[in-house]
C-alpha cells in the first residue's frame, strides 16, 4: 500500500537509482519560488497551499493526473519542513487510493547538505489517468474521533509542541511533539528508537492510533508516517485536526494552575 518494497520511507540511495531509471515521480512540496531555484532533479512541484486550497478527492485526482501519476507510478514526496508537508501530500494520495507513495527520508536542506544532485530544470510531464479508490480506514473525522476516543484500544496522539498541548488539547490525548519523531539528520528516527519511544508511552502494536495537530494534518501526517515506518497496522489521521475540533465546540482540556508559557524564551 505504500512505497517501493512496501516501505513508507525511501532512502536517498534508492531514490537516486530510481531517478536514473526514470521510473518514479518525485513531488517537491515546497513553495513555487523555492522549487524554481533548485530541486531534486526531475521532481515536480506541488506546494502544500495548492493542495489545501481544495483537497476533495476529485480535485486531488486531477492534480495527481496532471503531475503524470497513474495507478502504477511510484511516488516520493519531500519538503523542507521536517517532512510534515510532504507527509500531508503523501497521505492525501494514499487516501485517494494510490498504492505506492513514500516519503523521502530527509528534507531538501539535508539532501543539499550532503552534496546530492540538484537541478533547476522543470520537467515537462504528460497527463496520466488515475482511478479513485478511497481509503477511509486511514482517515478520522471529528465525529469518529469523539465516538471512539474513550475506547481502551484507541490512542489519540497530539503532535503539536508541548506548550500548545498544555494550553489545550483533546481530552484523553497524549502528546508526542513532531520534533520527537526526527533524528538529527533524517525526518524520522531509526525504527528501533521509534518503537522504544512508543513502548515507553504504553502504545501497543494492536492499538488503533489517531494522530492530530494544529490545523491541516501536516505534523500529525508526519506522525502517521512515523507509525507506518514501524509497521503499525492501524493508524488514522484526523486530517482537519484541532482547528476544526475547536470550531465544532468539542470538549477541550487544559493543564491548569501553572504558568508554563513563562518558561519559554521565545
Amino acid at each position: 500500500m505504500c512505497g517501493l518494497n512496501g516501505k513508507p520511507i525511501m532512502d536517498a540511495d534508492s531514490l537516486r537509482s530510481l531517478l536514473r531509471d526514470n521510473s518514479i515521480r518525485v513531488i517537491d512540496v515546497r513553495r513555487k519560488e523555492d522549487y524554481k531555484k533548485d530541486h531534486i532533479p526531475k521532481s515536480v512541484n506541488l506546494p502544500l497551499a495548492d493542495l489545501l486550497s481544495d483537497d476533495t478527492p476529485e480535485r486531488v485526482l486531477k492534480l495527481a493526473q496532471s503531475l503524470g501519476i497513474d495507478d502504477q507510478t511510484p511516488v516520493v514526496a519531500y519538503d523542507d519542513t521536517f517532512g510534515a508537508l510532504a507527509s500531508r501530500v503523501a497521505w492525501t494520495l494514499q487516501y485517494l487510493g494510490h498504492r505506492d507513495v513514500s516519503l523521502l527520508e530527509m528534507t531538501y536542506t539535508q539532501w543539499k547538505t550532503l552534496g546530492l544532485e540538484t537541478d533547476s530544470n522543470e520537467p515537462s510531464v504528460g497527463t496520466k489517468t488515475h482511478s479513485i479508490a478511497l481509503k477511509p480506514e486511514i482517515m478520522a473525522t471529528a465525529d469518529y474521533l469523539e465516538k471512539v476516543k474513550e475506547n481502551k484500544n484507541v490512542i489519540v496522539i497530539d503532535n503539536r509542541e508541548r506548550l500548545n498541548y498544555l494550553e489545550q488539547h483533546i481530552p484523553g490525548s497524549i502528546n508526542i511533539p513532531y520534533r520527537t519523531l526526527a533524528s538529527e539528520d533524517k525526518i524520522l528516527r531509526p525504527k528501533d528508537e521509534l518503537k522504544r519511544l512508543l513502548q515507553n508511552r504504553g502504545i501497543s502494536d494492536n492499538a488503533e492510533v489517531i494522530t492530530y495537530c494544529g490545523s491541516v494534518g501536516t505534523l500529525s501526517g508526519l506522525a502517521y508516517y512515523a507509525l507506518k515506518s514501524i509497521d503499525h497496522p492501524n493508524v488514522k489521521l484526523y486530517v482537519r485536526s484541532f482547528k476544526e475540533w475547536k470550531n465544532l465546540n468539542k470538549p477541550i482540556v487544559k493543564q491548569e494552575n501553572a504558568d508554563y508559557w513563562d518558561l519559554s524564551a521565545e
Binding site: 516501505k7 520511507i9 508554563y260 518558561l263 524564551a265
Partner: protein
C-alpha cells in the same frame, strides 16, 4: 532504510569526561513501567526518580523536570546542540539555566525521561544525583582560570571532586542534599552560602608554593539561612578530599533523617555549635587520612587548557561596528587575566534559552572561543570565554542574529528568578516572569549603563524557600499571598542588603510589596539613592551602610526605607484595579495553590 550517504562532522572540541552510564536510562525506563503498574510504591519511586535527576512538576504526576548536571558549568558545542534537540523533542522548546550551573528541561513527560537520559549519554552528560539526597552538581566559578584575582584555577579540583562523588556509595542516601561550591576569588563566588565552599589559596613553604583552599562549612540559603564558617586558615590540597569525606561522613552519621524540613548540614552545625562541629571534622579527617588507602585520591587533570584561536568560517568581514556594541561590551564582557582575551557573559531572561539559541551558541563557541566550550554561571547565565578582543564586535553581531545580544548581564539588570509557578509545586507567585518583567523594564530604562547600580543585584524567589537566592541580593524578594477581604493578590516580601562576597550577610526584611508594585518599589529605592548618595557610593554600598547602621545620608535605617515605600503598599479595591489582583503571566484573579515539595523528599 540505511543510507550510505553520511553527513560530514564539523570540527569542534569534544568533552573530556563522560559522566554518563547508558544502562541508567534503561533502568529508569523499566522502573517507570513498574511504578505505573503499581509494583513500586510512590515513595520509593520518588527517591529513585530524584536520584536520577527527575524532579516533580507543579500539580501533576505526569510530568517531570530533568536537571542536567554540568560539573563546573562546562558545556561543549555538541552538548549544547543535544540540549537544543532534547528541549524541542521532549520539553517546551526552551531550556533553563539554573543558579547552580545545571541546565533544566521542564514539562517532560515522565515516560520520556529515559529517552533524555539515553540521549544525554550520547554526549557524555548525566542527570544522576542532580536532585535527591546526594552531592549535587559541584559548582565552580565560571571565571575560574581567567580571573585576575585568583591564586590558581580551581576548575580541575571541582571536576575531580565531582568525579569522586558521582555514584559513590558514600553519598547515595544522605540525610539531605549536599552542595560543594568552588570559586576563583571572594568577589565571584558564593562560598559562605553552601555546605562546603572553597576558595583557592597558596602559601609559601620552604621556598615552594603550596596550593590549598580556604574552606567554609555549614552555610546555605533556605527557609532558614546561615552563613558558613571557615574551617582553618589553610587547607592544603592533599587534605581536600580527606576533608570532604570527613564532612560528608559526619553529616551522614549525625544529620537529621526525620525532620526533613530542617536537616541540611547548616542546621546540624547551628544546633551543635560551630566549635564542636569543627573539632568533629578535624578529628574525623585525621581518621580518614590515617585509614584511607593510598589509591583514594582526587583525579586532578591539571594539564593546561588547550587554547587555540579558532579558524573562523566566516572570517573578519571588516564591517562597521554594529549598533549597541559598546553598551553591550561594557556590561557583558570581562577582561581575563590572560592578555588580549575576554570572557563574554550572555544576558538571558531568568535563565531561559531557546533551542535555536542553544544551536547558535554552539556555533559561537566553535568559532570564537579559544577553549572551545561554554560555561554556565551562578546567575542563570552562560559565558563564552577566551574570546580574542579583536573578535568581540563580530561575536556581538552573531549574538544579535541569535537574539542573545541584550546588554546588562554583569549588572543589576540581570535578575535571578526561580521557576515559581511556571513549574514548581511549592511556588506561591510567578517569580520567574517577574524577573523577566524587571529585566525588560530596566533595559528600556538603560539601567545597565549606570555605574552606580552595576555591583547590585536583584533576586526573586516564588516562596519563602530560597531557590531564587533572595537573601543574598542587594534587593531581594520572596513571594506570598496577600488578602483584601475576600480577594487575594500576589505579594512579595522585600529584603535589602544581602550579599555573598567577602562580607557575606543575609538581607534584612523591609516590608511586603504587592507584586504589581515591585518594579515601582525598586525604582523608588534607586531614586532615593540617587538623591542622597555621597560621591563614592554605589547603590550596594549605600544600602550596606543603611542595613549595618552606618548610614551617612538622610535615609538612616531600614525603617526609613520602609517609610519611603509604604505608599506602594496601598491596596486598591478589585473594582478599581483588577490587574492588581492578578499575578504576572495571568489574567485571572490570584489564589495561592501549592503541592508537595520534593526538596526534602
Amino acid at each position: 532504510m540505511s543510507s550510505t550517504v553520511v553527513k560530514p562532522v564539523r570540527d569542534s572540541k569534544a568533552p573530556k569526561i563522560n559522566w554518563a552510564r547508558t544502562e541508567e536510562a534503561e533502568n529508569f525506563a523499566k522502573t517507570v513501567k513498574l511504578f505505573r503498574q503499581g509494583k513500586i510504591d510512590p515513595d520509593s519511586f520518588r527517591r529513585f526518580r530524584l536520584q536520577n535527576g527527575a524532579y516533580g512538576t507543579r500539580m501533576t504526576d505526569d510530568y517531570a523536570m530533568v536537571r542536567i548536571k554540568l560539573p563546573a558549568g562546562e558545556i561543549y558545542p555538541n552538548q549544547l546542540e543535544k540540549l537544543a534537540h532534547l528541549s524541542e523533542a521532549f520539553s517546551i522548546g526552551s531550556a533553563h539555566v539554573s543558579t547552580r550551573q545545571n541546565v533544566q528541561l521542564h514539562w517532560v513527560i515522565l515516560e520520556d525521561v529515559s529517552e533524555i537520559m539515553r540521549s544525554l549519554a550520547d554526549v557524555g552528560l548525566t542527570s544522576r544525583e542532580a536532585c535527591g539526597n546526594a552531592v549535587r552538581n559541584v559548582m565552580c566559578s565560571p571565571l575560574a582560570g581567567v580571573c585576575g584575582e585568583e591564586e590558581f584555577d580551581a576548575t580541575p579540583y571541582a571536576i575531580a571532586t565531582a568525579k569522586f562523588f558521582l555514584r559513590n556509595p558514600l553519598n547515595q542516601a544522605l540525610p539531605r542534599k549536599f552542595k560543594f561550591n568552588f570559586t576563583c576569588c571572594e568577589k565571584h563566588g558564593m562560598v559562605r552560602m553552601t555546605d562546603v565552599g572553597l576558595i583557592p589559596q597558596t602559601r609559601s613553604v620552604g621556598g615552594n608554593t603550596q596550593r590549598g583552599f580556604k574552606i567554609f562549612l555549614g552555610g546555605g540559603l533556605g527557609n532558614k539561612s546561615f552563613v558558613g564558617h571557615q574551617l582553618e586558615d589553610f587547607t592544603p590540597e592533599e587534605d581536600l578530599l580527606y576533608t570532604s569525606i570527613a564532612v560528608l561522613r559526619i553529616f551522614d552519621r549525625l544529620g537529621d533523617r526525620k525532620n526533613t524540613a530542617r536537616n541540611r548540614m547548616r542546621y546540624l552545625v547551628d544546633q551543635m555549635g560551630w566549635e564542636k562541629f569543627r573539632n568533629l571534622v578535624l578529628k574525623e579527617r585525621a581518621i580518614v587520612r590515617a585509614t584511607q588507602s593510598v589509591v583514594v585520591t582526587l583525579d586532578i587533570d591539571d594539564a593546561p587548557a588547550k587554547i587555540s584561536n579558532p579558524i573562523r568560517i566566516s572570517g573578519s568581514d571588516g564591517k562597521s561596528v554594529p549598533d549597541g556594541f559598546s553598551r553591550w561590551r561594557k556590561s557583558n564582557t570581562f577582561e581575563q587575566k590572560q592578555n588580549g582575551y575576554h570572557s563574554v557573559s550572555l544576558t538571558l531572561e531568568a535563565g531561559d534559552i531557546t533551542a535555536n539559541q542553544l544551536r547558535a551558541l554552539a556555533d559561537v563557541c566553535r568559532e570564537f572561543s579559544a577553549e572551545g566550550y561554554a560555561r554556565t554561571g551562578f546567575l542563570q547565565d552562560m559565558l563564552i570565554r577566551w574570546v580574542p578582543e579583536s573578535d568581540l564586535a563580530q561575536l556581538y553581531s552573531r549574538l544579535l542574529e541569535a537574539g542573545l545580544a541584550n546588554p546588562g548581564s554583569l549588572t543589576m539588570v540581570h535578575p535571578v528568578g526561580c521557576s515559581g509557578t511556571t513549574s514548581c509545586n511549592l511556588a506561591l507567585t510567578n517569580s520567574h516572569r517577574l524577573a523577566k518583567e524587571i529585566q525588560r523594564k530596566f533595559l528600556d530604562l538603560k539601567l545597565d549603563e549606570d555605574n552606580d547600580l552595576r555591583d547590585s543585584n536583584i533576586k526573586i524567589s516564588g516562596c519563602p524557600n530560597s531557590c531564587g537566592q533572595h537573601e543574598i541580593a542587594t534587593i531581594g524578594f520572596f513571594g506570598g499571598g496577600g488578602r483584601n477581604d475576600k480577594d487575594m493578590y500576589p505579594v512579595y516580601q522585600l529584603s535589602i542588603g544581602g550579599r555573598s562576597d567577602g562580607e557575606t550577610m543575609l538581607g534584612v526584611n523591609v516590608l511586603r510589596i504587592p507584586a504589581k508594585r515591585v518594579i515601582p518599589a525598586i525604582l523608588k529605592i534607586i531614586e532615593t539613592f540617587k538623591a542622597e548618595r555621597r560621591q563614592n557610593d554605589t547603590l550596594k554600598s549605600w544600602i550596606h551602610k543603611i542595613v549595618t547602621g552606618h548610614s551617612d545620608t538622610s535615609t538612616k535605617s531600614v525603617a526609613d526605607i520602609k517609610k519611603i515605600l509604604l505608599p506602594l503598599t496601598v491596596v486598591p479595591s478589585a473594582a478599581e484595579d483588577k490587574d492588581f489582583y492578578a499575578d504576572y503571566g495571568s489574567d485571572s484573579s490570584y489564589h495561592t495553590r501549592t503541592g508537595k515539595g520534593e526538596c526534602a523528599a
